[in-house]
């Protein structure tokens, strides 16, 4: 591979480090009684409130409808993701140094696969939280489930729930794009 394309591949790998700095996904809840807003940021290794106390408050709200409490410590994905991303950064850098075009394609393919699996897993996670409700919940609305949207906005009882990718996700997309660019230019 040419030096320039190897640099691009290197940048693609390094950009992924951004997911350790910025949240990947964000869920925002709007309701009249939360004029200041309340929400969650999903990071590579944890889920945290947009304000420090938001997670606790969301758990508190969700208990009315029997939703499980969100405990980041008990979510296995959040343990697996950091080493997986670290592996992608390291292998990406190795590929950039080594300079084999084919391995850029392999790296990219695996990365796209990871992203798809990740989104599917996230949807399943949301499905579980939205459907697997405590039968003893105080509020039961017949036929109602509480699965937040994967992307976009949905009204869930009094909560307007908006789910959107965050900076970490966009950095990952840029990383993919750069890797594809390096592969394409090397034709």
């Amino acid at each position: 591979m040419k030096k320039q394309n190897r640099i691009i591949m290197g940048i693609a790998a390094l950009l992924l480090a951004g997911v350790f700095v910025f949240p990947i996904w964000s869920i925002k809840l709007d309701a009249p009684q939360y004029p200041e807003g309340i929400g969650l940021n999903i990071r590579v290794n944890t889920i945290e409130g947009k304000s420090p106390q938001d997670l606790q408050n969301i758990n508190g709200l969700n208990h009315y409808i029997g939703m499980q409490e969100i405990h980041p410590d008990s979510i296995p994905e959040l343990k697996i993701m950091p080493p997986v991303f670290a592996a992608f950064i390291i292998t990406g850098l190795v590929i950039a140094l080594w300079g084999k075009r084919r391995w850029v394609a392999v790296w990219l393919a695996l990365f796209v696969l990871l992203a798809l699996v990740g989104l599917a897993d996230f949807w399943l996670w949301e499905y579980d939280y939205g459907h697997n409700l405590d039968p003893d919940a105080a509020i039961k609305v017949p036929g109602m489930t509480y699965q937040p949207p994967l992307i976009g906005t949905k009204q869930l009882l009094n909560m307007r729930t908006t789910s959107m990718p965050h900076i970490g996700f966009f950095l990952a997309m840029c990383s993919m794009g750069l890797a594809a660019l390096a592969w394409w230019r090397e034709r």
């Binding site: 200041e36 420090p52 106390q53 606790q56 408050n57 508190g60 009315y64 105080a138 509020i139």
Partner: protein, 652 residues
């Protein structure tokens, strides 16, 4: 019948006069749509100013939005408040401790904002109590009373608390002179007033950590001391105190203290006095007093002191000079430039205005007309800057707009009078309804008044609101002073007696430091628990400690058994919420104090001594959620000597 008509006819001319006057005054009621617009703060919008009004005999501090006049909060200070358990629960009871024991009531008079460089800075507000002489400090990031210091050797703390330019000192003077010293010295005949009674001026020093210490007291002649203000700018380093009863009467003061043509303003060089104190001058005299404070663990503590430094101006010269002032001066107010000292001679037909620079010159020239009990009395004409003629009857208090104008309340003639600080001519006057005491302009006693509004604090309400029997709220009247003519915009009822008030632009307080909830991890209360799995009940002899949590919408534990007659039960309740404006309440049937109101992240303790066997319910008193009514529990009380073991739980 005829006699009745005749009787009525006699008053006809008077009735006609009333009608004419009534017609005139109705034009000045200020209730036009334009005025309404000026005070209208739309739903969801904020007022321009925080207004802090004392509660007078309620002992509290009321917070109002200005210009809307909306009552937005009450800070409990010197009196118990059942609304939030202040002074009832174990965490705050010590705030009302004094050398006289637990005092659940006091009257609050003069709120005073802390200042930096002579301008209110929004850190603290201080307020005095008259009856059991005390000064309180309220933190304005939480609107909680965090410190109260008692003033010894004082017989009524009225001329208090007035801050110096950078809040170096907070001064307090005794309203009533009293005999001082040990039992033998205090047990004297009242008619030996002139020989045995003395006054004190106290100076509380603000420590670097924001706490208050009584630094020194200055011994003064046995008059009555009424009000005060500190100098600023050129007069920084000085404080001015009005006195009445220079006659030293001790009975029927209405007559006997109104004989002298002039009483005195005491000009006090506090900087000099502080120097004396720092050098160890004066005498440490025995005095019992306490200081109560709340720090990071949110539990009030009491510190006891047993002596105070007293400086005697007859031995330590240069601290005090008397400015003769007609007649029974009440308020004393210093102009924003620090040069003019305005006295409200409440029985005087003029407003006397002293000049600070002329006063200094007179002191340098020893331009004395005599001395009073060892204190030099300056010549009236030597210090006088001017007199405001025809200022209304009973002038009391003056504040300033920062544009060269002064505004004085006239109590007897029920009006506010605007006059020029340059020409001393009356420029405008406006009726008030009725009998105004203090008046307030935001920052109007500082170097930088925000001179847009004036609030007159009226003693009598009569016909202003729907009648509520013989007892009526007082009235505050908001007046627009931005133009040449004063304009009445609004009046609104106030709780207790809004004796004096202060106000500050909202954005100087409403900042990021404002406390919205207390982070649980910072809770240092020794009885705090931070999660439900730590909830428990422990027996210690005949004391039972319940460590309880609250969250929307249950208590943990909510079933408790094993209490026996003769036990004392301590409910230590921690509110696990971490959300703004979600306090939880707690009370139990037969509680003899008050509910608890526990802020998010805070711990409060209620002591309960069950007096009968049975199962008592407890519940949350603050409507907190959709399932608020379900937020309840039971505690079982068994006969003394029964063998029911301690047990507890939630949701088995």
């Amino acid at each position: 019948m005829n006699a009745h008509i005749l009787h009525t006819l006699r008053y006809l001319p008077l009735a006609a006069l009333v009608l004419i006057l009534g017609a005139c005054s109705s034009q000045e009621l200020g209730s036009d749509a334009d005025a309404a617009q000026q005070v209208y703060v739309a739903p969801g919008e904020y007022d321009e100013f925080y207004g802090f009004m004392s509660g007078g005999y309620s002992g509290q501090l009321s917070v109002y939005g200005i210009p809307s006049g909306r009552h937005i909060y009450t800070v409990p200070v010197f009196s118990q408040l059942a609304t939030n358990g202040y002074g009832y629960n174990e965490e705050t009871k010590a705030m009302l401790e004094t050398s006289y024991g637990f005092v659940p009531w006091g009257d609050a008079h003069h709120p005073e904002l802390s200042q930096t460089d002579g301008v209110p800075d929004g850190r603290y507000i201080f307020i005095n109590e008259n009856n059991t002489p005390r000064v309180a400090k309220i933190d304005l990031n939480s609107f909680q009373t965090t410190e109260i210091i008692e003033i010894p050797n004082s017989g009524g703390n009225h001329a208090s608390p007035f801050v110096t330019q950078n809040t170096e000192y907070i001064s307090a003077a005794t309203r009533f002179s009293v005999p001082m010293g040990d039992d033998g010295e205090r047990d004297v005949a009242i008619d030996s007033y002139a020989e045995n009674f003395q006054g004190t001026l106290s100076f509380i020093k603000m420590q670097d950590d924001g706490s208050m210490r009584l630094d020194f007291q200055i011994l003064v002649p046995g008059f009555d001391y009424d009000l005060s203000h500190a100098g600023k700018g050129p007069s920084h380093g000085w404080s001015f105190f009005t006195s009445y009863n220079s006659e030293q009467a001790h009975t029927l003061l209405e007559v006997n203290a109104s004989r002298n043509d002039k009483d005195y303003i005491a000009a006090v060089n506090w900087a000099k006095a502080a120097e004396y104190a720092a050098q160890g001058e004066g005498e440490m005299v025995p005095a019992d007093y306490v200081r109560n404070y709340i720090d990071s663990d949110h539990i009030a503590k009491t510190e006891r002191y047993n002596e105070v430094r007293v400086l005697d101006p007859t031995e330590l010269p240069g601290m005090i000079y008397y400015l003769p002032t007609p007649k029974s001066p009440h308020g004393v107010d210093v102009s924003p430039d620090g040069e003019l000292i305005v006295a409200g001679g409440k029985l005087s037909t003029v407003i006397p205005v002293h000049s600070f620079s002329k006063m200094i010159e007179a002191i340098e020239n020893e331009d004395y007309e005599g001395e009073e009990q060892g204190i030099p009395v300056l010549r009236y004409d030597a210090t006088l800057a001017g007199e405001v003629q025809n200022p209304g009857l009973g002038p009391l208090h003056t504040e300033f707009d920062g544009r060269g104008n002064a505004y004085t309340t006239a109590f007897i003639s029920s009006e506010v009078v605007k006059w020029s600080l340059e020409t001393f001519e009356v420029l405008d006057r406006i009726d008030t309804y009725y009998s105004p005491g203090h008046l307030m302009i935001p920052g109007g006693d500082s170097r930088k008044p925000w001179g847009k509004y004036l609030v007159a604090l009226n003693k009598i309400t009569k016909d202003r609101y729907l009648p509520t029997g013989p007892e009526l709220f007082h009235s505050a009247q908001l007046i627009d002073i931005s133009g040449d003519k004063m304009r009445l915009l609004l009046d609104f009822p106030t709780e207790g007696e809004p004796h004096y008030a202060q106000a500050i632009p909202a954005d100087l307080i409403m900042d990021d430091d404002m406390v919205r909830f207390y982070p649980l991890e910072d809770n240092q209360n020794p009885h705090a628990i931070t999660s439900e799995d730590q909830a428990r009940v422990e027996r210690d002899g005949n004391e039972v400690h319940v460590y309880m949590t609250t969250i929307r919408t249950h208590f943990a534990p909510d079933n408790i058994e094993g209490i026996k007659m003769g036990d004392t039960v301590y409910f230590h309740v921690t509110n696990l919420e971490q959300d703004w404006d979600v306090p939880h309440g707690f009370t139990v049937r037969g509680a003899n104090t008050s509910e608890l109101l526990i802020m998010p992240g805070e711990t409060r303790t209620l002591v309960w001594t069950p007096d009968r066997v049975g199962v008592a319910p407890f519940y949350c008193t603050d409507f907190c959620s959709a399932l608020h009514q379900e937020m309840q529990g039971y505690i079982r009380v068994s006969p003394a000597g029964s063998d029911v073991p301690i047990s507890f739980g939630t949701g088995e």
